[in-house]
Symmetry: C2
Subunit: 151 residues, 2 copies
């Protein structure tokens, strides 16, 4: 039985894919949704990685966090900024972002338009961790990060 399939797109929604909250709980993010495109379905267990689409509305941001599993991100819609390790980078459509193990990161739709991106991760991965007070102090020593970060 061939489990191959096409998941059809229409306007940044995908057929049969529910629009979900970014995370089930927490207040350290804003105006962000998640669609799980491939990898989580019962008939997609042969894939070792998950392909998700996140979209932030203008002013939205993801959690400032780090973890050991790397992220591969490809921007599909709009533009914004990302806190990436010890710096802030502008990002635009089709830019690819590599988030290395342990690097703090936070996405921001900070340019008055939505920011939508694919984020591909290992199926089996560690849980994200929020910054400790010490790590927050360290991050705040960088002016651009201090001005951009939301916690």
């Amino acid at each position: 039985m061939d489990k191959s399939k096409v998941v059809r797109a229409k306007g940044y929604r995908w057929q049969g894919v529910p629009l979900r909250e970014y995370k089930a709980e927490g207040s350290h993010f804003q105006a962000i949704t998640r669609q799980s495109l491939l990898g989580e379905g019962a008939d997609e267990q042969a894939i070792n990685f998950l392909t998700r689409y996140f979209e932030l509305q203008p002013g939205g941001y993801s959690t400032l966090e780090h973890h050991q599993h790397p992220h591969t991100v490809v921007v599909l819609r709009g533009s914004g900024e990302v806190i990436l390790g010890n710096r802030v980078e502008a990002i635009d459509r089709h830019d690819c972002i590599y988030i290395a193990p342990g690097a703090f990161h936070q996405f921001h739709a900070s340019r008055g338009e939505p920011l939508g991106f694919l984020c591909i991760v290992d199926r089996h991965r560690d849980r994200p961790a929020l910054p400790t007070q010490d790590e927050l102090e360290q991050l705040r020593r960088n002016d651009r990060i201090r001005q951009r970060m939301r916690i």
Copy 2:
């Protein structure tokens, strides 16, 4: 040392990413290029999967092949068709395609415009196999596949 990075896009080319031939040899494909976006670099070895961008010019096609590792594909540019297992599917921008283990597949820029897509695969994976004569006969029993396939 944080290896995180942004690989910037400009018009379906990515900064610092060479435009390569689809495959080093063979005549079973046409008018197709490859850019390896994330995963193959020396500082990207923490990623367990490779993110590549393939682009077919109008009339171009990839190899008709199968393998045990699955493919996750996301169309970034244009439209076309894919032979996917035992059928032919139209594909358009942002559609996601899951190619299950063992499924024959071949991409076609058959609609008068380029077809560009991300293809994400395991870093460690089996080699593709071309169809045997028996498999070709089997595929040709489907009218749409027979008319579309190129070998």
